[in-house]
């Protein structure tokens, strides 16, 4: 698949329903950029990575774009330039200015044995980014280990589905009305912040089997266990086990592709919000687990998720919204976004178990994900499982890693062997 440079008709597509938010709310301090990265077993070669990137890009029309302003909406237009890989030289998840970077909305960088893919959330969500990263990794390994790989392995396709850019929100939209619930203001994590544009990263690796054993004892799923643990740590470290009128709310993005049978490479996710209002000082972990479990059961249903989609799409389809000029829409989106972040204390994103072809497994060490943080949501956590290891990645702009410390100490006290790795921000001033 070669890029047709002389093609006269410019291709374009609309932003999906959620994507419309990101160009408006993003700036240098809240970038809406997240990173998915892969650790290989050998040092990365820039020339090979560049070649792999140019081979991968034509398979993903959702990545091969630049952002344009129309009179009423933003839209994506095919980018005729070429992306350039770079050695990592900024903090993770730095803002990608749509006017720099050859106007691409993603960046591929490398450091040591790691390939980073940083993606502006407007083009796709974590699942879409992982699909791209996997394809890029396959191409890289194929180029770097041409001689060692078998003929069959070299011929394996790098993607399942080619350039599926359906807006699955619209596809699964059902017109209906239902009572709207009001978002409640959540408890906020506060504290001294790191210098502006600085972000701390702490990874914690555990054996997935041991952790699943813990969950099994309590008869809960991994995400349920971890989200309870987060609430537990906030309750212990930030609230000092005292009652508070605002609830601790953990926001958990949900991949909708499996619920609605979609293979889109654009955004297709929603959220659930689990939380506990602390009303007494003697909660036990198991008590919290029960509350969280119940909320998962109520919220994580196809019907409930479908309601959220329909609500969002209905707003986009509203004729008054559609004909109002982009500048007015921007103001509306900003207001709506600010009020929506008030409902979250913490964001926990589980990217699940990442599967790769067996032929390539021996070249890959780990996958990880980093989510950008903001003043309103200063700490976030992602989880990524590959092979027998699970990695928790805490990104934060708070100076003191109280939450991270309580979290990993809890796990090690439960008998897990935890391996910590950081980007050194907490030790920089020493």
């Amino acid at each position: 698949m070669n890029k047709n440079k002389t093609n006269s008709e410019t291709k374009w597509h609309k932003l999906d329903n959620t994507a419309n938010v990101f160009p408006v709310i993003s700036n240098k301090t809240y970038s809406s950029v997240y990173r998915v990265a892969v650790h290989l077993k050998q040092e990365i070669d820039e020339v090979i990575l560049q070649e792999a990137l140019l081979e991968t890009l034509p398979w993903f029309s959702s990545f091969d774009v630049k952002l344009k302003h129309g009179a009423f909406w933003h839209y994506f237009e095919t980018n005729k330039k070429q992306p350039q890989v770079e050695r990592e030289q900024t903090y993770p998840c730095a803002f990608i200015d749509p006017n720099t970077n050859n106007q691409f909305l993603f960046k591929v960088t490398y450091f040591g044995k790691r390939i980073n893919l940083e993606v502006f959330h407007a083009i796709t969500d974590g699942t879409g980014a992982l699909t791209f990263l996997k394809a890029l990794t396959y191409n890289y390994i194929k180029l770097a280990h041409k001689d060692a790989l078998s003929e069959d392995a070299l011929n394996l396709p790098i993607v399942d589905v080619v350039s599926d850019i359906e807006d699955s929100y619209h596809k699964n939209y059902r017109k209906r009305s239902y009572p709207k619930y009001k978002t409640k203001k959540a408890y906020k994590l506060r504290g001294d912040r790191l210098p502006v544009f600085t972000m701390s990263v702490i990874h914690g690796y555990v054996k997935i089997a041991n952790l699943l054993e813990l969950c099994k004892q309590k008869h809960v799923s991994l995400t349920q266990y971890i989200s309870t643990l987060i609430i537990w740590c906030i309750y212990k470290e930030y609230m000092n086990e005292q009652p508070h009128k605002k609830p601790i709310q953990v926001n958990i993005p949900v991949n909708l592709r499996s619920f609605f049978n979609s293979t889109t490479e654009m955004n297709f996710f929603s959220y659930i919000n689990v939380g506990i209002t602390i009303s007494k000082s003697d909660y036990t972990f198991d008590e919290m687990l029960d509350i969280v479990l119940q909320q998962f059961k109520n919220q994580l249903t196809k019907d409930n998720l479908s309601k959220t989609i329909s609500d969002n799409v209905a707003t986009e389809k509203n004729i008054f919204v559609r004909v109002s000029p982009l500048v007015f829409k921007d103001i509306g989106v900003k207001i709506a976004y600010v009020s929506s972040t008030k409902a979250n204390t913490f964001v926990l994103s589980n990217l699940g178990k990442i599967e790769v072809y067996d032929e390539f497994k021996e070249y890959i060490d780990a996958f990880e994900a980093l989510i950008s943080v903001s003043k309103s949501e200063p700490i976030k956590c992602s989880m990524c499982t590959f092979d027998d290891k699970l990695v928790f990645t805490f990104t934060s702009i708070l100076r003191d890693p109280y939450l991270q410390r309580a979290f990993f100490r809890y796990l090690s006290n439960e008998g897990l062997s935890v391996m910590i790795e950081s980007n050194g921000v907490y030790n920089e001033d020493l």
């Binding site: 009423f72 909406w73 702490i202």
Partner: protein
């Protein structure tokens, strides 16, 4: 393997301090770790200083020229020119210097700014009409021709220039309107400007049919 005795975790960093609790780590086998993240040098500071110096100088010279003008007033408000020029400088600095800006839209912005600047200057030193008679028509001709050259040199990106080209060509008809209103006294530059604008519009209608239609469709989809 390094361990933190308080957190009871293994640490893989290249430092000897636990990133969670700052306890000094116990290193059992003296193993040295590679750096996992680059050391970051932030250069934001430098840029800000430059911007602040510019801001300071702008405010200072604006104040100085207004005061001097007031104290030595002899019928000419020349400080208006200084202020207009400073604003023009800021527009260039914030808009045009950014990389990857569409060149055609930069030309459009320049046309508008220069037109306004020249009218202000003309009026400030006692209106003679050189701005509308000469500067505006001539800058319009220049802009039209340069966008046309851009299109020929860079045909692949024509669609990105189309909207700006239309706007510039339509702006190019303004001197003609001013002539009909009797503002313009020297007709020759205006006649050439109007002619180039009309030619550009006709050329675009004939050759750009599909490109223009699809560009308009993208820009105005709702």
């Amino acid at each position: 393997m390094k361990t933190c005795k308080r957190c009871k975790v293994y640490v893989q960093d290249d430092s000897n301090i636990c990133p969670l609790c700052r306890t000094v780590l116990t290193n059992s086998d003296g193993e040295v770790q590679d750096k996992e993240y680059p050391t970051i040098e932030v250069s934001v500071h430098k840029y800000n200083i430059l911007k602040r110096i510019f801001l300071f100088v702008s405010i200072l010279s604006t104040a100085a020229s207004v005061i001097t003008n007031y104290l030595t007033y002899r019928g000419v408000i020349w400080s208006a020119i200084t202020i207009a020029a400073i604003i023009y400088l800021w527009v260039i600095m914030t808009y045009s210097i950014k990389r990857n800006r569409n060149i055609a839209s930069q030309i459009l912005v320049q046309v508008l700014c220069v037109a306004i600047l020249s009218v202000i200057m003309d009026n400030a030193i006692g209106y003679v009409g050189w701005s509308v008679n000469h500067v505006i028509p001539e800058i319009v001709i220049l802009a039209n021709v340069s966008v046309l050259i851009l299109v020929f040199v860079n045909r692949m990106y024509w669609n990105t220039y189309v909207i700006n080209q239309i706007v510039i060509a339509i702006c190019g008809l303004i001197p003609g309107v001013l002539f009909l209103c009797g503002v313009i006294k020297v007709p020759l530059p205006t006649i050439i400007a109007t002619a180039t604008s009309i030619i550009v519009l006709i050329v675009m209608m004939i050759f750009g049919d599909k490109t223009i239609k699809s560009e308009l469709k993208r820009r105005f989809h709702f």
